[in-house]
């Protein structure tokens, strides 16, 4: 049944993506009214599907690429909905909703055949570790996106071009607030995720886990995150430099993601 709910969610994501484009780029007030409710419904069905799937599998951890993709899409939509409600802007919908749609498309076709047999996957700590880190990735994605949009709007205002195809961009101040808030949210997620991961690894593998490439990179990323937060907060960094800084952290984040291939800890083979 969870697959049916996921397919319903995928269809609704598709509709929400179309309505987001029409509302934001086409300035259609009618689409504006339906975009948020449809995205909300997609989020709800997606949540139901995820909970049902995990309950059926008697575990709290998304396993394999399909499930992780699906969970990431759910978190991206969550952040989008929070931003839309808090800042009254749908502009991020033209990135976030299509991305969620694409991320759930493959999982909606069928379950992943890749499974773990380790008993660790039934641990609540692991669920916290993965969810918090995925939340941090989603938040960082939004922060980077907001910084890019800030840069675009800033260039547009400086070039003194009249409102044209970029008229949908939210005000600079709104994007700055979104970039800052999601950065803090991401930092909290990353800190909680790393702490939970460290606890599990310490328990299972001893102190050797720290030599794992993915673990090392994760802590580098956490350090960079702190630097970025500190610089932005203390100097009020905005515009071009903020984009550079966010991009560096984002690149490291991609490396951390890719480091799964070389991580024995994350393949549960070290023990």
């Amino acid at each position: 049944m969870f697959l049916l709910w996921l397919r319903v969610a995928a269809a609704l994501y598709g509709l929400a993506a179309v309505s987001a484009f029409a509302a934001v780029l086409g300035h259609r007030p009618g689409w504006r009214r339906i975009c948020l409710p449809v995205a909300g419904m997609a989020w709800f069905f997606h949540l139901v599907s995820s909970v049902e799937m995990l309950a059926l599998a008697h575990r709290w951890m998304p396993v394999g690429m399909h499930e992780v993709q699906s969970m990431l899409a759910l978190l991206i939509t969550t952040v989008f909905l929070l931003i839309a409600v808090r800042y009254r802007t749908l502009s991020f919908g033209i990135f976030a909703v299509p991305l969620s749609f694409l991320l759930v498309l493959v999982p909606a076709l069928g379950p992943d055949k890749y499974t773990f047999s380790s008993p660790v996957i039934r641990s609540g700590w692991l669920f916290l570790h993965i969810t918090a880190l995925l939340m941090a990735y989603a938040a960082l994605l939004f922060s980077l996106c907001a910084s890019f949009l800030y840069l675009l709007q800033e260039r547009r205002l400086k070039d003194k071009r009249s409102p044209g195809f970029l008229d949908w961009l939210p005000p600079l101040d709104t994007m700055d607030q979104i970039a800052q808030t999601t950065l803090v949210l991401g930092f909290c997620g990353m800190t909680v995720g790393l702490m939970a991961g460290s606890l599990i690894a310490q328990e299972s593998y001893g102190s050797a886990y720290f030599a794992d490439p993915k673990v090392l990179l994760s802590f580098v990323m956490w350090g960079l995150y702190i630097v970025m937060l500190f610089v932005r907060r203390s100097t009020g960094l905005r515009g071009r430099r903020a984009v550079y800084l966010s991009s560096v952290v984002f690149l490291v984040m991609l490396c951390v993601w890719a480091a799964n291939l070389f991580s024995s800890v994350h393949r549960f083979t070290a023990s």
């Binding site: 300035h27 007030p29 709007q153 800033e154 205002l157 400086k158 003194k160 009249s162 409102p163 939210p170 005000p171 600079l172 101040d173 709104t174 100097t235 009020g236 960094l237 905005r238 515009g239 071009r240 430099r241």
Partner: protein, 447 residues
């Protein structure tokens, strides 16, 4: 009932003439009453704004001489008035009113005030009983068309004055203007206007720096602001989020080092410079700094011009919407023309049914109440079935303007009097459009 619209506007008459005919909102109801008592006028409304004075009347028989009304009431001689007046009849009058209400005939196309002014005139005319069925339908149609143009086009979305462009840009930078501080450097008329606009849109407070202290104090009192000594300008300018400069200085007042200091003290929070002065007060190079946004008078004017051209593009789409609304309005009016025939046909059929029931009364007396109710329902149903086709044919004929079919149906069913007489009778009886809506609904029940 025929429709006539007479008037003059900013395109046909100079302001000297328009101001002589202008009617204040307080006098609008009295003047509308006077218009209603003018010979030949059955219904009427006056639209008076700073750009137009228009009389919309409904009449029967001889066309009322509205130029005479203007002549008598405003003491403007006919010869000086006539070259500036325009007159529109029937469809053209409807089209003109639709365009006016939708702001397509305004000096600044898309401006929002005109719709409110049409509503005020409508309200004043209603209050003195000058609005009957015809004018009611016309105005409802005009208001609906204007609403559709507003919602389906972007005609009113972009700013087209220097002050409103400044507000729009400030919003693009700061989002909400709430709590934002504006610094007025120099106290020219244009900068005062921009500051007023920003304050009206929610800006928090106003600082004023001027070489002549008295003028600064005067403005500070006027806007409930604070005076900044001109000598302290560079030390305090960073307190403001928006700086409007309009001094007579021949040299730049703000240069790159100043802006860098401001940004440092503000921890890179953006500053919006609006330089209205000629020669300019702000070095254009500072726009290259991150966090500084500088617009001079030419920049503001080019945004205004671009927005105006956008409005012109939207206006073409609006014209197409208005044509559709005009067709819809005319169809409704044509349908209403056959309402008296629809009513006559139903009434005649009902009379025949009742007569037949009365004739059969003696034979039906033996039936139980339930059986009698069944007979009643049966005859009613049969009547509706028989009437269905003629009623549909009447409505189709009305839509296509096929009056011959309407006359043929009247003759075939021996309906009393001619179509014109029935319509005349109906017009007299139907003061409100709701009546007609009910009649149309009644005929729809047979569908």
């Amino acid at each position: 009932m025929k429709i006539l619209l007479t008037g003059l506007n900013h395109k046909t008459a100079p302001v000297e003439l328009r101001e002589r005919l202008a009617i204040s909102p307080e006098k609008l109801a009295d003047e509308t009453r006077a218009l209603l008592s003018h010979p030949g006028v059955r219904e009427g409304m006056i639209l008076s704004t700073c750009n137009r004075v228009e009389l919309v009347v409904c009449y029967e028989g001889r066309e009322p001489e509205l130029a005479l009304y203007l002549n008598e009431h405003f003491s403007v001689d006919a010869q000086s008035l006539e070259p500036h007046l325009y007159q529109h009849h029937e469809t053209e009058a409807v089209r003109h009113l639709f365009r006016v209400a939708s702001s397509l005939d305004s000096m600044v196309v898309g401006e929002p005030q005109i719709l409110g002014q049409v509503k005020e005139s409508y309200s004043a005319a209603r209050s003195v009983g000058a609005v009957g069925g015809t004018l009611e339908r016309l105005l409802q149609g005009a208001l609906a068309a204007a609403k559709k143009v507003r919602t389906e086009t972007q005609i009113g979305s972009s700013a087209v004055s220097i002050a409103s462009v400044a507000v729009d840009l400030a919003r693009k930078i700061f989002g909400s203007l709430e709590g934002k501080r504006v610094l007025l450097v120099g106290a020219g008329k244009m900068s005062e206007l921009a500051a007023r606009h920003l304050l009206q849109q929610g800006a928090g407070s106003l600082l004023i720096a001027n070489r002549t202290q008295e003028r600064a104090v005067h403005l500070a009192r006027k806007f409930n602001g604070h005076v900044v000594r001109f000598d302290d300008l560079h030390a305090r300018a960073d307190e403001a989020d928006i700086l409007i400069t309009s001094t007579g200085s021949t040299e730049f007042i703000f240069r790159i080092p100043h802006a860098q200091q401001f940004l440092h003290r503000r921890r890179n929070r953006p500053i919006f410079f609006i330089d209205i002065a000629v020669p300019r007060d702000v070095d254009p190079e500072i726009n290259r700094l991150d966090g500084i946004f500088l617009y001079d008078i030419d920049d503001l004017q080019s945004v205004t011009a671009s927005n105006l051209s956008n409005r012109t593009r939207e206006a073409q789409q609006a014209e197409a919407i208005l044509e559709q609304e005009l067709v819809r309005y005319q169809r409704r009016i044509e349908t209403l023309d056959v309402v008296p025939t629809l009513v006559d046909l139903q009434a005649t059929a009902e009379e025949m049914r009742q007569a037949e029931l009365r004739r059969a009364q003696s034979r039906l007396q033996s039936l139980t109440p339930a059986q009698q109710a069944a007979v009643e329902a049966l005859t009613h149903g049969l009547m509706n079935k028989f009437l269905h086709q003629p009623l549909q044919a009447l409505k189709a004929a009305a839509r296509e303007g096929d009056l011959a079919t309407v006359d043929a149906i009247r003759a075939a069913f021996r309906l009393n009097g001619s179509r014109e007489a029935a319509a005349q009778h109906e017009t007299e009886n139907s003061a409100s459009s709701s009546n007609e809506a009910e009649l149309t609904a009644a005929s729809d029940d047979n569908d």
